[in-house]
Symmetry: none
Subunit: 215 residues, 2 copies
Amino acid sequence: MDNQSTKMYLQIVRELRLLIQSENIKPGGKLPSERELVERLKVGRSTVREALRSLELLGLIETKRGEGTFLTDYRNHKLVEILSTFILQDIKTINDVHLTRQTLEKEAIRIVSASPNLMDLPVWESLLIKLEEDGTVQREDIIREILIVSNNRLSLKMWFLLKQYGEEPYQGFTNEDEITYLIQLLQAVMDGEIEQAVEAYNAWTNLLTKGRENV
Amino acid sequence: MDNQSTKMYLQIVRELRLLIQSENIKPGGKLPSERELVERLKVGRSTVREALRSLELLGLIETKRGEGTFLTDYRNHKLVEILSTFILQDIKTINDVHLTRQTLEKEAIRIVSASPNLMDLPVWESLLIKLEEDGTVQREDIIREILIVSNNRLSLKMWFLLKQYGEEPYQGFTNEDEITYLIQLLQAVMDGEIEQAVEAYNAWTNLLTKGRENV
DNA sequence: TCACATTGAGTGGTCAGACCACTTTGTAAA
DNA sequence: TTTACAAAGTGGTCTGACCACTCAATGTGA
């Protein structure tokens, strides 16, 4: 039918973009059904599906069996996820994963301790109290909170991924030193002492690294 | 057949990843034909194609009618095109991309300037000379070299991706200040002055950020 | 009237088979 | 040997058929 050198499914991707624009479909909104697209675009269903599957893997749309196809919130795109699984295949050293994760964590710490309105958040105080009183706070909770507050969704997403690939870097506490360092970290964050916070973080991760080596 | 909750085509994406790994297919190498995949994976051809089309849109594979399907290196432009038309309007997202990329860059700078054997590498001297004499060195060359030397392949690959995704943050030089900052950066690296290097980097990126806003 | 079960329409998920367009390769003819 | 052409292999597309799931309209019984 349309034997242009341009592949049909790419054409459909373009058409879909225009359709979304002209019909003003917003994130969360519903796209026309596959069968309707077949009629409107005059193409086969399998071709339509190739386009839709592509956009789904890109995280631009979401499909629910029995319901329909929906435009997603772009912020949650799983682009990084897919690419990571392809890229991580030939990364031999799990060490890179840890180091990269730590890079993201350190930067988040710097951002938070450098911003007066972030370091004054009540969450740090409450984490600190929990840390000192009981052991209900997990190591991961603290770092995660810092990442979230630093307000970079992409970094946060990557962090989750790296955490997953890096085989449970965080669990329960194993010794008193850890708690000491974490308290130092939190206090430095609250005081806006950037380098001090990073230093406490480094001391803490050194501890963990040693722990991993001993296993 | 396989009515798991996981969608079949995603399963195939995973299988393909394993297949590429186990058969050691390198960029430019040929993948099994669609019909062969149908037999090996025991699925319908349309399902196989959905998986392949997705990976193609991601730029991970390339198909040539009459020839076959090939693994690409991750340099493909389609990814950038598609995503930019769909997502790039989202300021917050693109900003996250830039910030995350800068996070990786800063950490690489810190690592290199903190390591005596890395900061003594002759490459810095030669980059510096080129920078001062002629304009043959691209901004990107310097940063890339630092990333490479810092020796974290995962970070490096993520950096490549973010760079593509963030639409050419680096190009030719636009003004003298840039060169000044880059010279400062390189010299600080060679001197092992970590914070000084980071400072020069920050000054430089501020320049670029302003440049972006003015467009 | 209300609560609950049933059913049917709509939708995505998958498969099989059929052509088409193109490339490569082998083979037969000049 | 060289050339021309046919065959095989590959991706591109379409059609039609089921299946699995969701949801709302419908019907039924209390």
